[in-house]
């Protein structure tokens, strides 16, 4: 046998078993899917597995099918607790079933299983308050990304003052890695604070919302921004200089000088930047 070449029978059994595990519906349907029958005809399926004292071959296969769905739905529920709460158990489970059919895991980790769920939700019809539900999913995805990001150094609040004011427009402020910007139609962060605190979650009301989601002392946090502040941070995070970012901000509505000072004081205080360099 060539080095590391897979035996054909082993490969056939594995492809067959996986096809049966991933298939929707009862086990009798799973063994008749095209993927399963490509390896073994349904009539041969019971003969591939030994019966136990108590279970028939396909009942034994069905144990794995049940555990697959339970495990992956649980992983999605852990990443999307707000979405699960909003939709309820049954609807969330059905959403996950549909999602997993289209996006089965191809990674060694379950951490990023739900990365395509917000985009998938964009195509789901029949949702109550769909814009809110999609905002909620985007917010929860970004929160998991920020949670898992690598640590980076944090520039102290006095860093920018080490430069003469006349060169500030040529400064480049680099955000920490655990930093994401999010533009939403609902104040989802307030909704989720109430949810995590176990408070009654009010019915959401539309309100344009600009957030920076970041991590401080290993906790995921959010800061609500104004539209100009969002534009400023967005341009900075793309690598623009402070001068270029300020221009973008003025196009988005502008700000008073005291606003700017207060923003940067807060942003540096929250550890949003890892470095300041003169270019």
């Amino acid at each position: 046998m060539p080095r590391d070449s897979p035996p054909e029978l082993l490969g056939g059994l594995q492809r067959w078993m996986q096809a049966c595990i991933l298939a929707a519906g009862p086990v009798g349907v799973a063994i008749r899917t095209r993927e399963a029958e490509r390896e073994f005809p349904a009539s041969e399926a019971p003969g591939l597995i030994r019966p136990s004292r108590t279970l028939a071959p396909l009942e034994r296969l069905d144990i794995y099918r049940g555990m697959y769905e339970a495990r992956l739905v649980e992983a999605l529920r852990a990443d999307y607790p707000g979405l699960h709460h909003r939709l309820g158990d049954e609807a969330f489970q059905e959403l996950c079933r549909l999602y997993l059919t289209e996006h089965p895991s191809s990674s060694y980790t379950l951490n990023r299983l739900g990365d395509s769920l917000p985009a998938f939700l964009d195509r789901v019809t029949g949702l109550a308050k769909p814009v809110f539900v999609r905002d909620l999913a985007r917010f929860e995805l970004v929160s998991t990304l920020v949670f898992d990001e690598d640590e980076s150094p944090v520039a102290d609040p006095g860093t920018i003052e080490r430069y003469a004011p006349e060169v500030w427009e040529n400064l480049r402020l680099r955000p920490v890695r655990a930093f994401r910007l999010l533009r939403l139609s609902y104040p989802v962060h307030s909704h989720m604070h109430a949810f995590h605190a176990g408070e009654t979650v009010p019915e959401p009301r539309r309100q344009r919302t600009w957030l920076v989601v970041y991590r401080r002392t290993y906790r995921v946090q959010q800061l609500a921004l104004t539209a100009p502040a969002f534009a400023l941070l967005g341009t900075l995070s793309e690598g623009a200089t402070l001068g270029e970012a300020l221009n973008a901000m003025f196009e988005a509505g502008g700000a008073r000088s005291e606003d700017l000072q207060a923003w940067f004081r807060q942003w540096f205080g929250e550890g949003l930047f890892q470095s300041v360099t003169l270019v």
């Binding site: 046998m1 080095r3 590391d4 897979p6 035996p7 029978l9 082993l10 490969g11 059994l13 594995q14 492809r15 078993m17 996986q18 595990i21 991933l22 003969g47 591939l48 597995i49 030994r50 136990s52 004292r53 108590t54 279970l55 071959p57 009942e59 034994r60 296969l61 144990i63 794995y64 555990m67 697959y68 495990r71 992956l72 992983a75 089965p104 895991s105 191809s106 990674s107 060694y108 980790t109 379950l110 951490n111 990023r112 920020v146 949670f147 898992d148 990001e149 690598d150 640590e151 890695r177 655990a178 991590r215 290993y218 906790r219």
Partner: protein, 279 residues
């Protein structure tokens, strides 16, 4: 009795779980060692990484994986192995273990520990992959006997003989999960004592203990409860055969307070002492 690599007996450890992070960081409980689920820390740079570093500073650590998929007919994932090796170096892991199973094929992952057909062909195939992985990791790979809910009709080897032969052919160590032996023995109708007696004495590097869920027709390996009396008796038998071996308790569902989990693994000391006195 030492294993053939001279890997030391670390005593009685428990699996590192998120719900226990605050207690471990604050109290530094007198646990002999921790086992870390490798995939939970490979891609997470925030709090999990911080906690793992603090734990590894203070306690011996061993890595335990669930996604190596050593029995899969897909090619080995060297990106995964590179991360595993980096993590093991960072934590100064005493050994690296995974399972004798496959988790997916055709680029997908079911995130379950799926059973192998035990044939001479699959034995040669897995042995070659174990050698490649051990060479890459620059240390012997330690493989755990999985719990399983079905057996393939085409198997020509018993699992214990397959594992024993694999250890001999490939040079892998054995992580003997006593609860898994018990679970599979019930599910497939074999004698768990004979299973343990077939495992070569110098090959066992670690023992796992856990609770399970009896469903009447079969037993599920849920890690959701105290270790049952029959499994403790089986553990005592393993102690008589293998001597003092690093022993670890897994608890993954309905996880109780840290002290409850710790107290459960410390029960093992009593069984070990009785077994050694009786020997």
């Amino acid at each position: 009795m030492a294993n053939r690599w001279g890997i030391p007996d670390l005593g009685f450890g428990i699996g590192l779980r998120t719900v226990h992070f605050p207690h471990i960081l604050a109290e530094h409980p007198p646990v002999d060692w921790f086992e870390v689920l490798s995939e939970n820390f490979m891609d997470s740079g925030g709090r999990p990484a911080y906690v793992l570093d603090r734990v590894a500073e203070r306690y011996p650590v061993a890595m335990h994986g669930v996604s190596l998929s050593i029995g899969s007919t897909d090619p080995l994932n060297f990106a995964h192995l590179a991360k595993l090796k980096r993590l093991a170096r960072r934590t100064r892991a005493r050994w690296i273990s995974d399972h004798l199973c496959w988790t997916g094929v055709s680029g997908l992952n079911t995130h379950d520990l799926l059973p192998m057909p035990y044939t001479s062909q699959s034995l040669r195939y897995v042995a070659e992959r174990v050698r490649i992985v051990s060479d890459y990791l620059e240390q012997p790979l330690i493989l755990e006997n999985p719990s399983s809910y079905l057996e393939f009709a085409g198997s020509t080897w018993t699992e214990c003989d397959f594992l024993a032969e694999l250890a001999d052919l490939s040079g892998c160590g054995v992580l003997l999960d006593v609860n898994n032996v018990y679970v599979s023995a019930f599910n497939h109708g074999f004698d768990p004592v004979q299973y343990i007696d077939r495992i070569p004495e110098g090959s066992v590097v670690q023992i796992h203990l856990a609770g399970h869920t009896h469903k009447g027709t079969h037993i599920l390996d849920t890690h959701s409860d105290h270790v049952v009396e029959d499994v403790w008796r089986l553990y005592a038998h393993a102690c008589r055969r293998f001597g003092t071996v690093s022993t670890l308790l897994e608890w993954d569902e309905a996880i109780p307070a840290f002290d409850v989990v710790h107290a459960e693994v410390l029960k093992a000391g009593r069984f070990l002492e009785d077994a050694l006195h009786a020997a």
